[in-house]
Amino acid sequence: MPVVDVDPDALRRFTGHDEKDDAELKEDLFGLGLEFEGETEDGEFQLEFAPDRLDRLSVEGVARSLRYQYGDDRGVYVPNTNDPDWTIEVDPSVPDERPFVTGAVIRDVNLDEAALDSLIQLQEKLHATMGRKRVKGAIGIHDLTMLKGRLASEEAGNSIQYVGVEPDEDRFVPLDSDRELTPGEVLTEHQTGKEYADIVADYERYPAIYDDIGLFSFPPVINGRRTEVDTDSRDLFVEMTGTDQWTIDKMLNIVCYALDARGATVEEVTVDYPDDPVYADESVERVDPGVDVVRPDLSTSEKHVTHDRIEGLLGVNFDPDEVVDLLERAGLDAATEETDDGALGYRVAVPPYRVDVLHPLDIVDDVGRAYGFNELDPQYPEVGTVGGRHDRSTLEDAVREQLVGLGFTDLLNFHMTNEAENYERMRVNPDEDDCLGAGEPVTITEPYSEDYTMVRTWALPSLAMVLENNTHRSYPQDIAEVGFAAEYDASEDSYVAERQTVAGALARHDASYEDAKAVLQSLARDFDVELETPRTEHPSFIDGRTASVVMDGEAVGVVGELHPAVLVEHDLELPVVAFEFGLEALK
């Protein structure tokens, strides 16, 4: 979940509530769903919250939500914007994997250290969340005075160009560097470049932004040094590129709202797309070709929700006025309306920084939060149903009960393991052997740890590991597990054959084959199946003391004395007899 660092003094200033002490602030923030996780070295609150309200990724957004909560603000607020002077021209050479761009000009911003830090944090947090680590959307913020626009057309003002370049076609000085590099060199030589190289690894051409002087930004990787923003910057150019127009537009809205809250003026930017754009992902939402797009798009969206749905879902009766009041306190605009079938409903306007409102249900949730969910009285639903267990789990339980009755300590082992434990240490060779446990493994695509690379094909290796880890404990150790195993099987829908398995091991100074067979006989009797144990061979067991477990005529497992090599491999200094068979056989 996202964590945002917020200076409590800034929060007091932005909310206009100097009288709130830290404790009160924390409580109010918790009410919003922002949990206090701790403090930074500078005394900033570290606030954790669920990733729905990404408009709260900076102090300005958190303060806005608090003002609604306090009742200081009501309804939707939309900042004023000035008409566009700048244009972003999108060149047909732009990589078709990253065809979208958006932007805004910010005038008269007062960037002290704290404001600059807050802006950088907002940028980083948006990258991490909506931007999907810059893959889906990446933000570049530039000092406008360092840009030299080309004359876009006779009537319009300045323009910059979003283009695609060959990896080593051009050079620029990236941030945190003092020499010119090509985009290709940035990816191999620059720290930030290496970090984000994966995103553009498959691109034929790299995204680049030019002004009249030349290349000044290499999104989504790094900006050029020439346009670097510092505390002296007064006017900013914000550009965002990405794989989806809606996403970068919403990210832009959140940034514009934050800077507006700091007293800056937002100036629109025209985005001029080519007449026939090419998209790598054909399913992506298109922009209208040939139409100039003006950004930021601060229009509200509209949702319709019925009074019945609100009352039904929250289980509370409301006056319509009360609902409108709650919606306004949630920062929405609302008016009552009559639905097509004559019912009472609400037309709700949603501000342009909200990214989480997809469905009228999300509006109901806002009403609930404004009302206070903890104000609701729990009630047990008057719904009659009959409970019951699944056959498989009752069978598992019954077998487990019998094994416990026979004196076994019931185990619960991980289903994930690795090839060494599952095969090698048990002397099983999956490529050559055809025995229990030698099934083809279901492996994990990108294992995190070398201990867990596959799903176990049988349970006995887990039991052997438990014995290995408990050689300092008293004997006899009679252990058993009714558990899960799986192997690759092309005849299955999922290519994975899953099974429940019953495994047991008796580690005793005088353990012999008979001890294990006695357990099987007991189980066979308890579950009314016919048991035969014809001689077989299995690499984990001693030849001549190994049998196939045949229940009601079907070979379902193996029983025998574990091979000395397996015992020694597991540091065991006494005989172990063991068995494993499919649970289904006892059905």
Partner: protein, 504 residues
């Protein structure tokens, strides 16, 4: 006749003519009185003895009585001093007499109170006379006290009026005790004449002893019944299984049916049906285990279309979709399930058990897999308790009521519902409750009402509320475990499993 040793000794010590007390027999045999009593009753059962109970009143000195044995009764001392001072002839002053007697404090009052009563003389207007005929050596009370100095005496041996006086003066106490007196019967005498032998003591009760009836004549060797026995470990269900059983019992009792389904499943069931956008951060391999197998072959085509449409365009007239890529290829990828909500999806879609009509309640307590860092509170595999309720009209209050009821069964009360965000539920709540031991407020689950973007593609037209919770978390809360790795997996300590208190 063969008898156990103690019974033989008692029989031989008893007499047919002289009733002997158990105390006396015990003294004589050097045995504990309770052992002799046991033998006496055994012998009575065999009709070799009769037992008569007699209640005896025993008189004994109190501490005060004991002091007078040595110093003499106060009134006697006063009389002797008065005689010495010549009070047999003329009255002397009381002060003179007391001074001469050496009496002090309470003893003065005691002497004066008993002096005239016992005829030692008269006390009048501060003057005291002594009766020359009085004989302090014949003082009845003093005599009895002296007699008691050697030990308690039967109350019958003391004159009643004297005893009453001594009792009222708190110089003696009377206690009742029951004494058993035994006398040999004729059979007893006959048995002795025919010869009684001591039977052997027996260490182990054997089948032979039982069948032959010899058990009646033997004595069993006494054991040290307080000593520790050898440690014994029976079979035992795994502590986590026990907890799972309990959860299942509670849920079945609340009307929930158990679900089951595949561990390895298509992402479609694990994530797409749950309205998790395909570029959701939790869908990267850092969070879930993708399996190296070909894509899932069979997915219901129409359902896939409806789910894709929900992702792209949303559900309902003014619903919006995600602005995220969606491909069937990703949906068909097979993973180890990251939650058992995949089972809920299979059931709600009708695929598992056919179309479901409300109302329904379903649950599972099954394993899930998360690519997390293994630490004290996180495992790569754990058990998830998953439950849902389907009904025509459900409200947030119904959700709260259901969970309040469930958690109360585990001693967790005062639930708090913190509004939360999940892609698949709205409203959503994190559940917090008070730790039954520490009183801390801790997170105990995640819940919500399934979004219409989840339900409508599945063909469900009513409301469904759901919740999830790690079973290990519940166990840690109710048992106070600190490190979950001690409990679950191959690193488990067998002694921990053997000795941990059972769940009930």
């Amino acid at each position: 006749m063969q008898l156990p040793g103690t019974q033989v000794s008692v029989l031989e010590a008893a007499s047919a003519t002289d009733a002997r007390s158990v105390t006396a027999l015990a003294d004589e045999l050097g045995a504990k009185p309770e052992t002799v009593v046991g033998a006496v009753f055994e012998l009575e059962n065999r009709c070799l003895l009769t037992v008569e109970e007699r209640t005896e009143k025993r008189v004994a000195l109190t501490d005060e009585g004991e002091t007078y044995v040595e110093s003499g009764l106060p009134e006697v001392r006063l009389y002797r001093a008065a005689v010495e001072a010549g009070a047999t002839d003329d009255a002397i002053s009381m002060g003179q007499a007391i001074g001469a007697s050496g009496l002090e404090g309470d003893a003065v009052d005691i002497a004066l109170a008993n002096y005239a009563r016992k005829g030692y003389g008269s006390i009048e207007s501060g003057e005291l006379t002594a009766d020359p005929d009085a004989d302090p050596d014949a003082d009845g009370e003093a005599t009895v006290l002296t007699a008691l100095a050697d030990g308690p005496v039967d109350a019958e041996d003391i004159e009643e009026s004297v005893l009453d006086q001594l009792v009222s003066r708190d110089l003696v106490t009377v206690s009742e005790s029951t004494e058993r007196l035994v006398t040999l019967t004729d059979e007893g005498v006959t048995a002795l004449m025919e010869g009684v032998e001591e039977s052997e003591t027996v260490g182990q009760l054997t089948p032979e002893l039982l069948t032959s009836g010899d058990w009646q004549d033997v004595e069993f060797t006494e054991y040290n019944v307080e000593a520790d026995a050898e440690t014994r470990y029976g079979g035992k269900k795994h502590i986590l299984r026990q907890t799972a059983d309990r959860v299942k019992d509670v849920l079945v009792g609340m009307g929930f049916q158990e679900m089951e389904g595949p561990h390895a499943d298509a992402e479609f069931w694990i994530n797409d049906c749950l309205f998790m956008p395909q570029d959701h951060p939790a869908r990267t391999h850092w969070d879930q285990f993708a399996l190296d197998v070909p894509p899932m072959q069979d997915l219901p085509a129409e359902l896939v279309d409806r789910v894709e449409d929900a992702h792209r365009n949303g559900v309902g007239e003014d619903g919006d979709g995600y602005h995220s890529p969606w491909t069937e290829e990703v949906a068909r990828g097979v993973d180890l399930r990251g939650h058992t909500t995949s089972l809920s999806m299979r059931y709600l879609s009708g695929l598992a058990e056919g179309e479901l009509e409300p109302p329904q309640r379903y649950f599972s307590v099954e394993k899930v897999y998360r690519n997390d860092t293994l630490d004290a509170t996180h495992l790569l595999e754990f058990f998830q308790i998953e439950g849902w309720v389907m009904a025509e009209d459900l409200s947030v209050r119904d959700l709260m009521g259901t969970f309040t009821e469930f958690y109360e069964q585990f001693g967790i009360t005062d639930l708090q519902f913190k509004p939360h965000y999940n892609p698949y539920t709205e409203p959503s709540f994190e559940l917090f409750g008070e730790h039954p031991e520490t009183g801390e407020i801790v997170e105990i689950g995640n819940s919500g009402i399934f979004r219409e973007e989840v339900l409508r593609p599945l063909g469900v037209d009513c409301d469904v509320m759901a919740w999830g919770l790690a079973l290990e978390r519940l166990l840690m809360l109710t048992h106070g475990f600190e490190d979950i790795r001690d409990v679950h997996g191959t690193l488990v300590d067998l002694d921990f499993l053997r000795t941990e208190e059972v769940v009930h």
